[in-house]
């Protein structure tokens, strides 16, 4: 259920929806839908989102990832943070048209996760947690942008192939420009993902938080699969100098793994990170050095 504390995030979502509508509308009727409205809605939404994140952090006295909802809100903040910087640095036209609807949809999805639904299963405020989570989140954010870029690439490629020279065609940048930025975002995200996974491995080994068979945990396996996909992508580009459609398709596949690793594992069950609190389970074990127990309700 929504509470008063959801309101700032709902306002951010509303602004992201305005941004999505205006960035799409700008392609269809640029005289009615001013691009500036889209840009400022994104920035305003991001600022409110940032304030909300700070509020959540102060409330939980930690980085705001104490439940799935907070975690999702934090990840989306990272996506916007990376997007605003990329937009400022590269000024690639129409990237927001492809990214903001995705951000809006994911934000609405995030709202459906009740704050009390799933809780973190590890003790917070640990160096390892921050070292593990932050690089991975920023890496995931970069992969989200590369996903939007890949959809953009395939859209423009389809238009060129099928000779569809409408308004969208004229508003989208060159294939080469998109391809270069896909490559840049992946090569920015991959080292961060690697760093996060290495820290995570150290953490799990040194403090034994997932048990002896930690490597069989679904999130660990999916995380590794995600890493392998992006490693393959980098290999294709760096060693075999691959470009074009295949890279775009593989980037989309990579993002599906990111999404599944991040959210899917909550549904298929994983000891890692979060656990669903059902009526049958009245408490969950908080993993970590202190072996605290967190009682629900």
């Amino acid at each position: 259920m929504f509470t008063l504390s959801h309101i700032p995030f709902i306002i951010s979502i509303a602004l992201y929806l305005v941004s999505s509508t205006w960035s799409i509308g700008h392609i269809i009727k640029s005289d009615i839908f001013n691009k500036k409205v889209a840009r400022w809605s994104t920035i305003m939404g991001f600022l409110i989102h940032s304030g909300y994140l700070a509020f959540l952090g102060i409330n939980s006295n930690s980085i705001p990832i104490t439940n799935v909802y907070e975690s999702f809100v934090s990840l989306l903040w990272c996506v916007l943070f990376v997007f605003i910087n990329i937009d400022y640095l590269y000024k690639l036209p129409s990237l927001d048209t492809f990214l903001m609807p995705l951000v809006s949809a994911l934000s609405i999805w995030a709202l459906t996760f009740d704050k009390r639904d799933m809780f973190i299963t590890v003790s917070l405020q640990k160096f390892w947690l921050i070292a593990h989570i932050i690089p991975i989140f920023i890496g995931y954010a970069a992969f989200t942008i590369s996903f939007s870029l890949s959809v953009m690439y395939l859209t423009q490629q389809r238009q060129l192939k099928h000779k569809l020279f409408g308004r969208l065609f004229s508003k989208l940048p060159s294939l080469e420009g998109i391809d270069n930025l896909i490559w840049k975002t992946i090569s920015f995200g991959f080292p961060l993902l690697t760093l996060g996974l290495v820290f995570g491995t150290f953490w799990v080994k040194t403090q034994n938080i997932l048990g002896e068979m930690w490597y069989l945990d679904s999130k660990v396996i999916l995380g590794l699969a995600t890493w392998l996909i992006y490693a393959a992508l980098l290999h294709m580009r760096l060693v075999a100098s691959f470009h074009g459609t295949k890279i775009a398709l593989l980037t989309i596949a990579g993002f599906c793994f990111v999404l599944f690793t991040f959210i899917g594992t909550f549904f298929i069950g994983s000891k890692h990170a979060f656990q669903k609190v059902s009526k049958n389970v009245t408490h969950i074990e908080i993993l970590g050095e202190s072996k605290l127990h967190y009682s629900h309700l």
Binding site: S170, S174, L175, A240, I247
Partner: protein, 429 residues
């Protein structure tokens, strides 16, 4: 006071007539100084482009007429009036204003929506200003025309979409490649269209240009023109995988680039796209090439379709432009009426103040004991009274002028107060 335009364009006259009447920058300056010497109280601007020659003139009480401009053109270019007069059009006042607005907004151009005409109108006006052949009316008219043209290009799609085969091809290339520096352009064949396309690509930064042609000398000539390299036709296959952009325009009756060759090339290129433009008829590139991943093939019909579509889009915008122009003409004509009565109002004001001064001069000797401060107060009161008396009629006349009736009011006041000086038009410059 009137505005007159006399001219001819691509629609009214064939090129051999247009070229006889054309001016270059030097001859425009000469012509303007000759014209203003002949008609000192009139203003003039000469607009001469590839597609049109027009003289805009504004004069008091129709001092310059159609016949005068025709005679002037005949004399200046030393040709018979009959040789061109049948091709000339002429418009007066609001129709002349409408015509200039159509011209500067490029809806009267051969290529509707082209942007070159704006700079040509600007240049014509600047030249005339430098020659001091413009005055209050034409300054106002041309400045408004230039502003209006910008407004129209911003608020309508009249200038959007490329309307030539080569610019459309370059636009497509820009949607595949971020820039052309470091990209290899391979030209197969040596048609005129090829050269035009190369010129566009070269202007956009393409510097690695390879030309292959059955006649090596012809390939060499084109390569030299673009600092490129000519290769023997037999070596074409070797360059297919290296080239980013391939343009073909041979007269071969069969395909010269086959699907298998391009499949091999794209394998070597590891997904780096190839952009192929086939402007030959019959076609040079096997159509199956277009189905290969990361290969983009366009033939002359594909490009022409886009050109036609863009022309249609621009043509559809003309009505929107006309509506904007119509409103702007109304504004201009209203402003023109105001400009017309300004000298009359000044005359009226001067006349009242002269009467006032005369009366003060008559009064002063009679007031012997008055000090300077008191006298200044009397002068101030007189001026203030006159200004107050004139304020309302001047305001009403200016307001009425917007509907074209202001002049009548001023004339009535002048008649009532017995002011019969020179015609107000005389001081319009």
């Amino acid at each position: 006071m009137s505005i007159l335009v006399v001219g001819l364009n691509h629609k009214s006259a064939p090129v051999d007539v247009r070229e006889k009447l054309a001016f270059n920058n030097n001859s425009v300056s000469n012509a303007l100084s000759v014209f203003t010497q002949k008609y000192p109280s009139s203003e003039a601007v000469i607009l001469s482009t590839c597609n049109r020659v027009e003289i805009y003139a504004s004069s008091a009480s129709d001092a310059v007429k159609l016949e005068d401009i025709l005679s002037f053109l005949a004399e200046f270019h030393k040709i018979e009036k009959d040789a061109f007069s049948q091709y000339m059009y002429h418009y007066k006042d609001d129709r002349a204003v409408t015509h200039l607005f159509h011209v500067s907004s490029s809806i009267d151009s051969m290529v509707i929506g082209e942007s070159q005409i704006l700079s040509q109108v600007k240049e014509a006006y600047t030249l005339a200003s430098m020659e001091q052949s413009t005055g209050k009316i034409l300054n106002q008219l041309f400045q408004q025309a230039l502003n209006l043209s910008k407004t129209i290009h911003t608020n309508t799609s009249i200038g959007q979409g490329k309307v030539s085969i080569s610019s459309v091809a370059v636009e497509f290339a820009e949607k595949i490649f971020q820039d052309f520096t470091g990209k290899m352009v391979l030209v197969v064949g040596a048609g005129e269209m090829c050269e035009l396309l190369l010129k566009h690509l070269y202007e956009e930064g393409a510097r690695t240009i390879i030309v292959a042609n059955r006649t090596f000398e012809r390939a060499q000539a084109i390569a030299d023109a673009f600092q490129g390299q000519a290769i023997k036709y037999e070596l074409l296959g070797e360059y297919l995988s290296k080239a980013d952009i391939i343009i073909t325009s041979t007269s071969a009756p069969h395909y010269v680039i086959h699907t298998d060759q391009v499949k091999d090339a794209i394998k070597h290129r590891r997904g780096n796209p190839i952009f192929l433009i086939d402007i030959a008829v019959p076609r040079d590139i096997e159509p199956g090439v277009g189905n290969i991943d990361n290969v983009y093939l366009y033939n002359i019909d594909d490009l022409q379709t886009v050109v036609n579509q863009n022309i249609d889009d621009r043509t559809r915008e003309i009505e929107k432009c006309r509506a904007i122009i119509e409103k702007e003409v109304e504004h201009f004509m209203a402003r023109l009426e105001q400009i017309k009565i300004e000298p009359a109002i000044t005359l009226l004001r001067n006349s009242f103040h002269t009467i006032g001064k005369d009366e003060l001069n008559r009064l002063k000797p009679k007031l012997k004991n008055i000090n300077d401060e008191e006298w200044n107060q009397v002068v101030y009161t007189m001026e203030r009274t006159l200004n107050k008396l004139l304020h309302h009629p001047a305001k009403v006349a200016k307001q009425e002028a917007r509907n074209g009736g202001g002049y009548r009011y001023v004339e009535t006041i002048k008649k009532l107060f017995g002011i019969f000086h020179h015609h107000p038009d005389d001081s319009n410059k």
